[in-house]
Subunit: 211 residues, 4 copies
DNA sequence: AATGAATGAGGATTCATTCAT
DNA sequence: TATGAATGAATCCTCATTCAT
């Protein structure tokens, strides 16, 4: 391995460390309250060093966001690709996403607190990009659902995707803020069933049980 | 009406005006980027006057939150109380909540961006309170659902409540950040049906249609 | 005098004080080395207060520049207006300018150190404005000279103006950096004579003297 | 040539390269805004290497100044030495200086922006030295003029030297900041004539022309 | 000799909060 | 009550200089 490559690796490693530190700090404080100083301290380097790796606080934040969204997308995309039926699709996607969120609750905190402001300006076009990404994800899931629900039902498919994602998100929020001890993935069945058959499933079961 | 009461009323009126201004500014900028100056300007009073009515920026924010959550609760609680069946309950609650959010998207932005940090400290106990409120709302809806779904299914009912709320939230987010022109309430039917019968409803309809 | 007017006056007074402080600090340190802190300290106010009166350091500098150039222009313009002959014009202008510089050597330091960079960008268009002002002054003096030297000789007149100003500037520089005890205005005769009749005047006088 | 000498030469060569780079950067940005990084980049070496050749940024700046002043002095001194009459002296000096400035406008920018602060402290004694140099140049030219104007007229000669230099400087400034396309040396005749015979020369010519 | 990563002091700017009027 | 000028702590970012390699 050449010297240049080694150096490159070290640089990559350092970027990762900073991102890791940034993840915690941004999750704990939110973008605005987070200070570069705290990120540096957590990364065990000096404040100035941050700027050797990231142009500024925005860039650091954006980089973090991108990396995590990429990380999340892979298994979810894979889930969509390999699905053979609607139930199969839904189960795979919910599993993939909840598993990701379970091990990335800090990212979820960040994402969640930015989400409702994706249409507001944030240093020119940072948020625009996030919104695009968000919409792309919804569309992708919408299309996947559409394949089973009906070919021309674009709006409906999208709405269903939104709904499914919404359920997952609120359960994640609940799991995080109430420090649930059971794994987030324990909610997979519930969400899948509800999405597929509605509350009736549970009501039916219940009736059967109490009968 | 005594002089004191009149004064009291004036004070209340002023507090309302400030809250109104704060709502817009906090929604547009987020808590941290919002400045007391901008709130004052929007309220048409001086910066110093804000401090006559609210101890500090945090208190102002908190007060805003409380007021809006109260405002939201009323019609939703009413919906729960008067519901005669599960479908009826769901439709009433979804309608009430989406109607509220439709005319309070700014509050939703704020709420949404704080939500995922309700368990973290925020100037002593502000967030603790928000979390309590949030949980109270979920529980309330959970209980209402439980009345129809099954008496002892506490966890299930809560989970269903979470799910329903999640769907509404994501649709609201989508409606806000993508500046949808149709009213948010246009999603009522979709959400209600999905929650009650699951995706099958739509698939069935679709099949019928294409048959 | 109304309260508003009084406040306005106080504000004007404060602006003047800041400008006065800035003049000294910028002259001593140059634009870049000067700190807002030092200006504030010298003005006897807090750092933050500077920003109540000037948008930023650039604006403060620019304001200082403008004010001083306006101050300088008045008597010089008047000199040009009232001149009846070339010798009269030259004497009046040189007198006016040297008198101004004599009591504004700090401004001269600032001006002088910026002058040769008027074509370089400085926060977009600050320097552009300075250059325009500088050229306007040269043109004005050029036109005044042109009235006596020859009507169509635009370039020549401008060049003569440049030359005259150059002489004054170097004498001012010399007077400042070598801390001459005699007044700067002691050089009026020399400059006027040299400009009007060239070095011959002195050579002639000298010959006569030594004869 | 010994190994040591070779090494010495290499070192000298490297110092020259750095100085060359520094010249551009300092001229473009000014001393304070210029960064060692940019100098290094332009010199094609690493930032750290700069410090192998120059103690610090100040030393680099000083060295640059010295070198350029030496460079300028040579032809001007030669011009003074070989002059046979006042007109000859003036023409030679003006030609030499304008030629130098024409190919060293960047140095002029730097010099010009420091000039008016030669009497102020700058990292102990840097400016003291510059002032000495400046005065030495004036004196030298003053003496040369004195040889033709009159032996005992020290002050007068110095003042004439200052005047002549002043004219050249302003024309150079004008040429630089207004990006004149004609060469700076095109102003030689004007300056020489004006210095020798005063504005009358031009007025006379003009009158003759219009007669 | 040379590199360039790392440091940390320093500076511009913002803004919650106070307080004299 | 109301104002808005003033404060100064806090924060982002830059960059000269050092130093391990």
């Amino acid at each position: 391995m050449g010297r240049t490559t080694q150096r490159q690796d070290l640089k990559e490693e350092r970027r990762r460390e900073i991102l890791e530190a940034a993840l915690h700090v941004f999750a704990k404080r939110g973008f605005d309250k987070a200070t570069v100083d705290e990120v540096a301290e957590r990364a065990g380097i000096s404040k100035g060093a941050i700027y050797l790796y990231y142009k500024n606080k925005d860039a650091l934040f954006f980089s973090l966001f991108e990396q995590k969204m990429d990380e999340a997308r892979e298994p979810i995309t894979e889930a969509m690709r390999s699905a053979t039926s609607l139930p199969d699709l839904v189960r795979r996607v919910v599993t993939a996403q909840l598993e990701f969120l379970q091990s990335n609750q800090e990212f979820f905190r960040i994402f969640s607190s930015e989400q409702a402001r994706f249409d507001l300006d944030f240093q020119s076009d940072f948020r625009r990009l996030l919104r695009r990404r968000f919409n792309a994800y919804i569309s992708e899931l919408g299309k996947a659902i559409g394949r089973f629900v009906g070919p021309g039902e674009k709006t409906l498919s999208r709405d269903l995707a939104l709904s499914l994602i919404g359920m997952m998100n609120t359960h994640t929020t609940d799991w995080i803020i109430n420090h649930r001890s059971e794994p987030l993935t324990a909610k997979i069945d519930l969400i899948v069933s509800l999405f597929l058959h509605g509350v009736e499933t549970f009501a039916a079961e219940d009736r059967a049980l109490s009968a």
